[in-house]
Symmetry: C2
Subunit: 162 residues, 2 copies
Amino acid sequence: MPQPPDPNIFQKHNHRSCRSSGMKEARAFCKAQGLRLTPVRARVLEILLESHKALGAYDILARLKEDNLGSQPPVVYRALEFLVGNGFAHKLERLNAFAACCQPDAAHEPMFLICQNCRKVAETPLQPIGREIDRAAADLGFAVVSRMVEVTGTCPTCQAGT
Amino acid sequence: MPQPPDPNIFQKHNHRSCRSSGMKEARAFCKAQGLRLTPVRARVLEILLESHKALGAYDILARLKEDNLGSQPPVVYRALEFLVGNGFAHKLERLNAFAACCQPDAAHEPMFLICQNCRKVAETPLQPIGREIDRAAADLGFAVVSRMVEVTGTCPTCQAGT
DNA sequence: GCCTGTGTTGTTATAACATTACATTACCTA
DNA sequence: TAGGTAATGTAATGTTATAACAACACAGGC
Ligand SMILES: [Zn+2]
Ligand SMILES: [Zn+2]
Ligand SMILES: [Zn+2]
Ligand SMILES: [Zn+2]
């Protein structure tokens, strides 16, 4: 049974379940939505789910090559476009890198906590901060379409390590 | 005399004064800090100050070439590193582009409002939102080093235009 | 004035990230 | 099983950014 989703991947957690439930949820969602989780797309998602770390597109591509699942950049970028577009993964703009989504609820808007030391990425809900952002924007007459909040720093593990 | 700093560049404003006071403040600050605002650096800052738009490094480089002030990427990236490092400009991670800072106070931490239509970029103080971000991060045991908030949408002018 | 260290710029090359374009294949459905 | 749509394979190219080293400029001490 799927354990309650604890979004804090910095905590010690049963990571095997992150991986298997991530794939399972993705398969179920795709089936329900009539989306095709093809071998390339599934493998890219698996690769991202293997860690909670941000991976560059070319890192992922190298892994795909090992599995003979495509060796040219468009292959991985198309898979990532699908995964990001359907909420299975996120792009981290600061790093030009990608990470699996930890809580692929229908519509969630996360902020990202990126460890500078280990590149692990945690998500936490942007609301209610997002509303404050909108308010600040509205003060300048700006109509918000999308918000991006990326925080860098040190995860609990890496803090303890030193 | 320097007009009171209205950070909302979306408002109609005396833009000539943005440009001249931006350069003047930069020169004064560099003098005070023993920094060298060399011709290349000054020209890059001027180019950024000419508009409030985000410019790619290679766009800036093209302008530098016209002035015979360096034609290779490292020239512009080094100048941008200097300007960003000293608070005269900012990098917009979402766009991989750069914009002049509108309020080069000693230490200010802005969030950015980026118009998808015209690429103009406004800054507005991140506080008190930043504190909320820190609190959300602390809930996960994460030690924040730097926050980045970039909002995309439509500026007042571009809203009116349609 | 000249040496010398430090910081800046010039230049070449290359790394890293991403897309266009078009041919081919797989899948669905009528 | 034919035809349409979605996905993939592949080559080429575009865009953003850095490494490495040579040359030059400026400042302070001799
Ligand atoms: Zn997510
Ligand atoms: Zn860490
Ligand atoms: Zn202005
Ligand atoms: Zn605009």
